[in-house]
């Protein structure tokens, strides 16, 4: 009996060993994984404040490009320190950022690398489209700051769909890609590290887990990551096209719409003022083809790729959308606009203790504002003029001293005048739909 148990234990060890630990590919991958320490600023609570965080990343090119998450390194990073496999530190800079796919691209400081004589290996990609549920995968990274941690699990679902409207530092994410779901332990700090197969091929970039749940982790598939990486390396950002349709799954509605199975995508809603709305499309329409190419949006998992079909067209493209409404099918021509985030540019007026953000079109639409004019208050500092006057987060400033405020520049101009000659300032702001007046006093 005792012997049997022992034997079976040895057997397990042998099998496991053959899967990853002894694989050359896996070892090579380990040498490509890095820890990332970031210090960045934020315009929180009416002042410019610094915060720091730890994440993971993987080196993906000979010239030191590192793939990580957009929520690990943001546009306001001032200090990025990368810890290589040999535990030596090298600084890096941000090359590109894309919150829609939660990806960021960094580049190691070549000069510093050369000076210090550090070496690294380059991770190799696998094909995420080939993954099957149940396949063994490993997550490598820095959970809770524990450098160089490997956890193991399986692919729980290779095509998970979820969109999060505030998932990346308040920015939208997940609308244009599906996710790999894994039960490999993914904790805070794993973000940006690779999800790899037993031969060390990168199939995903670990991004998030359900907090409070057991072993529900998610990674951006490598097929998405490689495409975005190319774009970020070239332009620093990914431009996407927008037409303003909100898709829905057609499942169970085919009879009602008199459609063959696996044909078309439901349009749940059309954003007011968007190209699709201008063209006359509306909620309840069925999108059959984009530029003659048939679409199949039967299940929620199929929607991100369809949205991506539109997103990848150059901004300003003319698209022909075949739309079925009732018994008739018509072509609608729409000219795409640039996709923008709900989160606009941000700044701070420190003398008033006021953090501000541009009102973007999506923000105005979500909040049913009449237009995208005005500037949103995102924080106030206690005891400073803005807070004392009664302004608070969520207010939209529309006028200062009877001058209309359309952008951050308009506010900064008023603040400059105040700084030169501090005097009472009358501010008009909207909270939801109510207009109020405030006086800022020196």
């Amino acid at each position: 009996m005792t012997r049997l148990v022992l034997l079976s234990l040895v057997g397990t060890l042998l099998v496991t060993a053959s899967m990853a630990e002894t694989s050359r590919g896996f070892k090579r991958l380990l040498d490509a994984v890095v820890r990332i320490d970031v210090r960045e600023f934020a315009y929180e609570a009416g002042s410019k404040r610094f915060q720091s965080g730890v994440g993971s990343g993987v080196i993906v090119s000979d010239d030191g490009l590192i793939l990580t998450n957009a929520h690990v390194v943001g546009l306001r990073a001032v200090d990025i320190n990368v810890t290589l496999a040999n535990l030596e530190r090298v600084s890096a800079e941000l090359v590109g950022w894309d919150h829609w796919t939660d990806l960021a691209l960094l580049r190691l400081d070549a000069e510093e690398l050369k000076r210090k004589g550090h070496k690294f290996t380059v991770g190799r990609f696998g094909d995420s489209d080939d993954l099957d549920p149940g396949e063994t995968v490993y997550a490598v990274g820095t959970p809770h700051g524990l450098t160089r941690t490997v956890t193991r699990g399986i692919i729980s679902n290779p095509r998970r769909f979820f969109a999060d409207s505030r998932g990346v530092k308040g920015y939208e994410t997940g609308q244009f890609n599906t996710w790999l779901q894994t039960d490999a332990a993914i904790n805070p700090g794993n973000s940006g590290g690779p999800l790899v197969t037993s031969d060390g091929r990168i199939v995903g970039i670990n991004s998030r887990g359900y907090s409070g749940a057991d072993n529900l982790g998610f990674a951006i598939p490598s097929s998405t990551a490689r495409r975005v990486m190319t774009g970020l390396a070239e332009d620093g950002a990914i431009e996407r096209s927008y037409v303003g349709i909100v898709p829905g799954a057609l499942r169970d509605l085919e009879d009602f719409y008199d459609l063959e199975l696996n044909t078309g995508m439901l349009i749940n809603s059309v954003d007011p003022g968007s190209p699709a709305a201008e063209a006359g499309m509306r909620g309840g329409d069925i999108l059959l083809k984009i530029n003659g190419e048939r679409v199949d949006g039967r299940f929620p998992e199929q929607l991100p790729p369809i949205k991506n079909m539109i997103a990848v067209r150059p901004i300003g493209s003319e698209l022909t959308l075949s739309i079925k409404r009732g018994d008739s099918t018509d072509d609608y021509t729409v000219t795409t606009e640039e996709l923008v985030s709900r989160v606009g540019d941000e700044s701070v007026v420190e003398i008033w203790g006021l953090s501000i953000r541009e009102v973007s079109r999506p923000f105005a639409r979500e909040n049913q504002l009449p237009n995208d004019e005005g500037v949103l208050v995102i924080g106030v500092q206690r005891g400073f003029p803005a807070q004392v006057a009664g302004l608070s987060t969520g207010d939209v400033i529309t006028k200062i001293n009877n001058t209309p405020i359309a952008s951050i520049a308009d506010i900064l101009k008023q603040a400059e005048a105040y700084e030169e000659l501090p005097d009472k300032v009358l501010v008009e702001a909207r909270r939801k739909f109510r207009v109020s007046l405030y006086v800022l006093k020196p």
């Binding site: 829905g248 009602f256 909620g283 008009e428 739909f433 109510r434 007046l437 405030y438």
Partner: protein
């Protein structure tokens, strides 16, 4: 305000002349006598799936068995049609003895609800005016001793008990309101001075800010409210106008309409900046499409500074000024003219506004419950469309007023206040059409109804699977 009630006040003096308020009576006998003006009103609200029983204290205001209840006594979501089985209990009497009553409606200006006791139940009731002070306009003074009636629950026969305190504060909110040092009357029950003269009615919602002290967590402010007894009370002067305003219809029509949304008081700093001195102003956020205010030439962001030539008073807290304006409007009638002085781009303008007739309210909207689908739909009214930031000149579709949990509609994801714009592919032009389409869907034998529903400005298609 004063002129319209002068005839009533004159009448009151006569009553006082013949009434017998005797100052040297004992508290027990004073209380006993005044119980004749206090009743407990029981009524049921019929919902789609169940009914809820409510017990509210009320005060008798005349010899015809009219009883007033505070405005919060009846939920705003309940329509008069849902209010049934009104019963009247006398404090301290066995609850097997009760009278029946009818709901008369709510008055828009005073916001009281009115109930009329059936003739056979009126014996022994006395109007509160029997206990009016010699000068009904006299105000209680700070420090004055006052007492009131509290009532126990039904299982104790609504037994009356005595509460007493002293006046601590008198304020306009904008209703004349008093605050006592402690609980001084049950909600909706009367208060009296030492001579037994009626001085007010126990009001709801007077909270004291309290610090919850904990050694583990830093203290947080909380508001504690006693739901049974009140330290705050509406003065008698707020109760007497009810006598002249018994509604002759359930919705208190005619209701005047002005048509502005979001009136925000300016703070003292802004008032000073605008040169308003010791008075104040109200910023108008929005004008409702087609409203008298819009037609009268008001613009968004105008600042109202005076009504009929009277500068807006600085009532505290600031928000009370907005309520003051609403009351000034509601005490008028459709067709009356209100003269507004406004500030626009720092210039003063005088604008006469002729009040209109208020559009149909959600309470007045027709509604119908579809048992199989598990949904109550209601007629779309003006305020629904305004709240959804669309053009209220066309009242299309229907509003989901109730969704039965786990019903076909509930399972499909419909929620209360969803705006149903299409049913089975047909655009719903009005409520009647929604009724027809739902009726047809339920009787068609089809396994589903498909709706286009608007929520938060976004539409979505919802499929409601009908049970076999």
């Amino acid at each position: 305000m004063k002129t319209s009630f002068t005839p009533f006040l004159a009448g009151l003096f006569c009553i006082v002349g013949i009434s017998s308020i005797v100052a040297d009576q004992s508290p027990a006998s004073l209380l006993d006598e005044r119980l004749a003006s206090v009743v407990v009103v029981e009524f049921a609200i019929e919902h789609e799936l169940d009914r809820t029983l409510n017990y509210i204290n009320g005060i008798v205001i005349d010899d015809d068995g009219t009883v007033i209840l505070e405005s919060s006594a009846i939920s705003d979501r309940a329509t008069p049609g849902q209010l049934v089985d009104f019963k009247i209990y006398r404090p301290g009497y066995p609850t097997t003895q009760y009278a029946t009553a009818d709901y008369l409606g709510q008055d828009g200006y005073t916001t009281w609800h009115f109930v009329k006791v059936q003739p056979e139940g009126r014996t022994g009731l006395r109007p509160i005016t029997d206990f009016a002070a010699a000068d009904p306009a006299a105000m209680p003074v700070i420090g004055e001793k006052i007492w009131g009636i509290g009532l126990r629950q039904k299982d104790e026969d609504f037994a009356p008990y005595y509460l007493s305190s002293q006046v601590s504060l008198i304020q306009r909110l904008p209703q004349l309101t008093g605050v006592a040092l402690g609980s001084v009357a049950g909600r909706g029950c009367p208060l009296f001075n030492e001579a037994g003269e009626f001085i007010g009615m126990g009001a709801s919602g007077f909270g004291q800010r309290m610090m919850i002290y904990s050694q583990r967590r830093r203290g947080e402010m909380s508001v504690l409210i006693n739901p049974d007894e009140a330290a705050g009370f509406r003065l008698a002067a707020e109760v007497y106008p009810a006598i002249g305003r018994i509604p002759d219809n359930l919705f208190g029509r005619p209701l005047p309409w002005f048509g502005i949304d979001g009136i925000n008081p300016v703070g003292p700093e802004v008032a000073e900046f605008l040169g308003l001195g010791s008075t104040t102003g109200l910023v108008i956020s929005e004008l409702l499409s087609g409203s008298p205010a819009e037609e009268g030439g008001l613009m968004p962001r105008d600042i109202i500074i005076a009504l009929d030539g009277m500068p807006l008073p600085r009532l505290k807290p600031d928000g009370v000024v907005a309520a003051h304006l609403m009351r000034e409007i509601l005490k008028r009638e459709p067709g009356d003219t209100l003269s507004l002085t406004i500030l626009r781009d720092q210039l003063e303008l005088e604008l006469p506004i002729e009040l209109g007739d208020a559009p149909k309210t959600p309470k007045e909207a027709a509604r119908n419950y579809f048992e199989e689908l598990g949904i109550t739909i209601r007629e779309t009214v003006f305020s629904d469309v305004v709240a959804r930031r669309e053009d209220p000149s066309s009242l299309i579709g229907a509003i989901a007023h109730f969704i039965k949990p786990s019903s076909p509609a509930g399972t499909a994801g419909l929620r209360v206040d969803d705006w149903i714009k299409e049913i089975d592919g047909t655009a719903v032009v009005d409520y009647e059409q929604a009724l027809e389409l739902f009726g047809a869907a339920e009787s068609s034998g089809r396994p589903e109804v498909v709706m286009l529903v608007s929520r938060g400005g976004e539409t979505s298609v919802m499929r409601v699977k009908i049970d076999e």
